[in-house]
């Protein structure tokens, strides 16, 4: 039995039944479920300490401010950030990648400048650059992928040559591929490019050390790491953050405002205009506590083992009828399986699985350029987290055959 057995009970949604059958949640790459302690921490914030932050001059407001800044400190420790003020909160990683495009990007990229992405990016790390490209005339270059779903680095020197920025995912939300972040950061820096890492799928599942990653910015999103929706975090180097123009203007981010203009306040608040989601920060802090108590190494170990089990079971049971995209070696991937089965459309597969309360995602997973490269319109994706176990995989493997009615 896995050392993580028993954790399922901490997640109230997982006790949900439909038609007296249990829920089998295999969609954590989309959003994770929340342990009761995260839900309770948020409720407790509102029941005891709610007030606006940084502005109040009374005890309750101080408690709320401590709750927000305490959560920031927890997140900073969790990713080994060198300084707490280098951690910036926003509503999700999408906002943070847009922030980078609109502040660092606008300040540093002009006509003809090259930005390097990979073919396995999520739309959140593509569309902001398309928008900037349309505005500024920058060029987008794409690191291709190998048939095994790895980044194909054979042409990396040419791609990075003269590039101003490399922005890429630390783990594909479609293929599960774990990319060589430190290596790519070093190559990009050697070529004079700045480095952004979309760690949305990395931080929830693997120990993350932003210093070891060697990048300049690392962004991720709370709801995929047991935290609530409505919060994401960006780590960035002080020098770069200080040199960047502000993103959204308003309260909290100013030092002074007159009818003629304004000046910005210090980090991290310079990038946090308006009332922040203190409850969501508190929830993210609690999620980080939970993950740390279980241990990121243990979580990774559990997922590698379950990933191996899943790949073995699905292939043993369905042989050539199933194709699982992405790296074949569990140690070089996360617990995310995009597959095709007997040519059946993913939406129909998902429907027959849902009939047995098995939750998977069908579609392009916000990675349409990757779908095109894979030659698929859509895939079915099952994805794991610490609360999954072998029985969940067995249910998936068993139920898949019900999709045979759609085989053409």
């Amino acid at each position: 039995m896995s050392p993580l057995a028993g954790h399922k009970a901490d997640f109230p949604v997982l006790a949900r039944t439909f038609d007296d059958k249990p829920l089998i949640y295999l969609d954590s790459a989309n959003t994770s479920q929340k342990p009761q302690m995260v839900i309770d921490a948020m409720a407790e914030y509102y029941e005891r300490s709610n007030a606006n932050v940084h502005r109040g001059s009374y005890k309750l407001a101080h408690e709320a401010t401590e709750a927000l800044e305490g959560a920031r400190a927890k997140v900073a420790r969790f990713i080994n950030a060198p300084a707490v003020h280098e951690v910036i909160f926003a509503k999700n990683v999408t906002e943070l990648l847009n922030l980078l495009a609109q502040t660092w990007g606008r300040a540093n990229l002009g006509k003809g400048d090259a930005v390097v992405l990979t073919e396995m990016e999520h739309h959140a790390n593509i569309v902001p650059w398309h928008m900037l490209a349309a505005e500024r005339g920058i060029e987008l270059r794409w690191i291709p992928i190998t048939p095994d779903g790895q980044l194909d680095l054979r042409e990396i020197d040419r791609l990075l040559d003269g590039a101003k920025l490399l922005s890429f995912t630390a783990m594909s939300n479609v293929l599960g591929t774990i990319t060589p972040v430190a290596e790519l950061s070093a190559l990009a820096h050697a070529a004079g490019a700045t480095v952004i890492v979309d760690a949305s799928q990395h931080v929830p599942h693997l120990p993350t050390d932003v210093q070891a990653m060697g990048a300049d910015f690392v962004a991720f999103t709370g709801h995929k790491m047991l935290g609530p929706m409505g919060i994401g975090a960006l780590w960035g180097r002080t020098e770069l953050l200080e040199a960047m123009p502000p993103f959204l203007g308003g309260g909290e981010m100013i030092l002074n405002v007159t009818k003629e203009g304004f000046t910005t306040t210090e980090l991290p608040w310079k990038f946090e205009a308006g009332t922040p989601a203190v409850d969501a920060a508190v929830g993210l802090g609690a999620a980080v506590d939970y993950l740390s108590a279980v241990g990121m190494e243990a979580i990774r170990e559990h997922e590698v083992s379950l990933t191996g089990y899943a790949m073995r079971t699905l292939t043993e049971r369905h042989g050539d009828d199933i194709t699982i995209h992405g790296p074949s070696e569990p140690a070089s991937r996360g617990g995310v399986f995009s597959f095709t089965y007997k040519g059946v459309h993913p939406h129909d597969i998902a429907q027959v699985l849902d009939e047995q309360n098995i939750c998977v995602r069908a579609g392009h997973h916000c990675a349409k350029p990757l779908m095109k490269v894979l030659g698929e319109n859509a895939t079915t994706r099952a994805s794991l987290y610490l609360y999954n176990d072998e029985s969940d995989i067995d249910a998936l493997a068993d139920t898949l055959s019900a999709a045979d009615m759609f085989a053409l």
Binding site: H347, G363, F406
Partner: protein, 160 residues
Amino acid sequence: MGLEDLYREIIIDHYRSPRNRGELGEPATRTEGFNPLCGDEVVVFLDIDEGGVVTDVKIGGQGCSISMASASMMSAAVKGKTIDEVQQLTSSFKSMMSIHEREIGGDGSESEADSIVDAEFPMGDLEAMRGVVKFPVRIKCATLGWNTLLQGIDEHPAVS
């Protein structure tokens, strides 16, 4: 509710043997529709004559059983109809599908909302799609072809 409400026999039949599958060359129009939620793509080729009659329609693209069957049934239903009739039929079909779609927005112009309520065009085989309403996530699949058709009509030189 069981899957048999969704996957009625006639739907599976249209899925397995899609009608009017293919392409049309000039002067037919070609219109692409996307379901942003699941990646389905439907392509509608449309020939309309000067009298406003849909003389030919072909369907391309890829999608799930519901989107493909719905587009296939649609192609069979609209061929030979006038644009007016097609528009009424579309309204009726959406009305059958779309209490939910209207509520969460849809394309939501008010006049359309009215016409949804008024229209009651005979549905024939299309009746088989009624079960989709019980599976709200599939409504977008069922209406994809129809929305693409409407757009195609709008863009057709015989119309504008």
